[in-house]
Symmetry: none
Amino acid sequence: MRDGTNTRKKLERCALGLFVKKGVSATTIKDIANKAGVAEGTLYRHYESKDELAQSLFTNAYEEVATTLKQLADKEPNLEKKIYVMVKFFCEKYDEDPILFNYLLIAQHNQLKISHEKEINAHEFIVMLFNEAFRKKELPKRDPHFCASIILGIVLQAAISRVYGRISRSMAEDIDDLVDAIKGALHY
Amino acid sequence: MRDGTNTRKKLERCALGLFVKKGVSATTIKDIANKAGVAEGTLYRHYESKDELAQSLFTNAYEEVATTLKQLADKEPNLEKKIYVMVKFFCEKYDEDPILFNYLLIAQHNQLKISHEKEINAHEFIVMLFNEAFRKKELPKRDPHFCASIILGIVLQAAISRVYGRISRSMAEDIDDLVDAIKGALHY
Amino acid sequence: MRDGTNTRKKLERCALGLFVKKGVSATTIKDIANKAGVAEGTLYRHYESKDELAQSLFTNAYEEVATTLKQLADKEPNLEKKIYVMVKFFCEKYDEDPILFNYLLIAQHNQLKISHEKEINAHEFIVMLFNEAFRKKELPKRDPHFCASIILGIVLQAAISRVYGRISRSMAEDIDDLVDAIKGALHY
Amino acid sequence: MRDGTNTRKKLERCALGLFVKKGVSATTIKDIANKAGVAEGTLYRHYESKDELAQSLFTNAYEEVATTLKQLADKEPNLEKKIYVMVKFFCEKYDEDPILFNYLLIAQHNQLKISHEKEINAHEFIVMLFNEAFRKKELPKRDPHFCASIILGIVLQAAISRVYGRISRSMAEDIDDLVDAIKGALHY
DNA sequence: AATGAATGAGAATTCATTCAT
DNA sequence: TATGAATGAATTCTCATTCAT
């Protein structure tokens, strides 16, 4: 009996690469099947539809990252440390699978929906952390959305610079510099 | 004889909005024509194809912004001032036409190509400015790509936060804070 | 006041050339207007539709040729002379306006209809002449359709060879040789 | 899995008939699909476009005929016999598949291109045969293009007369008469 | 599970014709 | 008469999905 798990993996990997390169709606089933070296119909053995594939790819990756990020942050006593572990996790995850990460980054432009309504998105999660820190007087109050935007911008753009080949060293190598830049930007 | 300028303008505006909202390939000619209140065939009197429309929209906007940005920066004597005028220009431009700007931001995900090979992209342009500043000993040498990434990340994410409705005040109101964050992030 | 006669002539000439080169249905109004250097709408000042233009071009040329051919043949006393004057007329007409003639030749492939039902086509006309000649015992009876086909084939292919540039001398120069070939082919 | 060979055959046959009857550009995909009893999209599983279908139909038929014609002629020792076998082959082929043959005849009006540059066309091939015969003193020298035109005219018009229903007996029945007419026309 | 031919709805595009100027 | 923008129906083509094998 042929091993369907293998085919599924291949389909996921190929779809991911194409979705990132061309966008979900510009990627055809044929593109994916050709790249994976299987017939077009085969995809429907594993996924109900193209959209389900796109969505499931996103949801799986997203939930793991979001959950872990939250767990890591929750373990740390203060904002400074929370930010450090989050940046570190993000960088390591990125290095581990840049394409998958990239897919998460562009997913917002492909109107993929986050599964559970209550699911936190990165921005709102960071806003929460800042509000908490303000409450605890860890740092002087200011607009938490502005702060979240700064952090996300610095970290995400670092990833994007890799995507476009402008920076070739690993994200992990820049962890300290990125955290440092964040600290400087937010004056804490 | 009828004057097509008006129709063309309407088509551009409507296409822009839809491209930003749904992405180029998920936007249909019908969507655009309906929103513009013209027949589908009319679009082809103004553009050769949907792709040409998407591309032309991008190129026109991009070239204007890129050229102005460069001109403004060139007038200033040092990096600090160059960064200030660039951030200011970006913020004001964004406020003036957020949708158009948003189109520029997401364009990379729609494989739109920058027309002239030699055309500067924002990242490389900032790298150039840093190299120049290093040469003039304006600030201690470090990876200019890292610096460019920081600046772009802070500014672009500020725009993206507006797009997703997380921050509602104008970009112009944040000019000083953004420049301040950049200075802090880069320790100059 | 602008002179519409001139425009009409130009349109006819340009349409003719394009119809011959690409076929009627593959030629667009835009093609014709562009080649004639007028606007698309202008064509409709002179013709009701593209089909009317194609048809009128055909009918005008056809009727003149058919009528003259018949008149010339009717004046001659016997088949041999009838054939001679018809070949001569055909050759001279071809040299005078090869494109127009070519249009007549291909018109059958564009389902253009001959205006009057009773209008004779070349084949049937020649068949009539042969039947008459058989009646008058000018030559031994045989299938007149076969004979008509031979004559038409020899003459038309001579024209087609010019169209495709295989023979460059005028048709008029070959009149005697063509008549000679016809005589030989039909053994009269 | 379904076998597409049958569908492909059906599409080819139906397209051929329609192309001959209405011309390539006046035949729609819908026409073809309807006649073949398949969905419109099915055509695109077998051909890249309508034009590719038209072209491939032509090229396949043309190459087979051209190759065989050449092979047959090459086997014969002199022009007289070469002409005989060629006329015979042409007549029998025509009877075998008049529609396909007709497509070859009208192909020139649909700007279909012969695939290989060096591919012989009928006219040039016959010119070659005559030049060879002149060299071998088989018959007195004269313009080989004129001779080729005579032969083609006689044979092709015989076919065209069938197409338009003017002659209903088979081409094969006329082989000897056609060869005879050719001999007479060329006085050999 | 896998295949790829077939489907058909819908998207992109063409183009004869109309019409405001 | 002339213009060319606008129309919209018809056409070509695409592609997610189904289905016989």
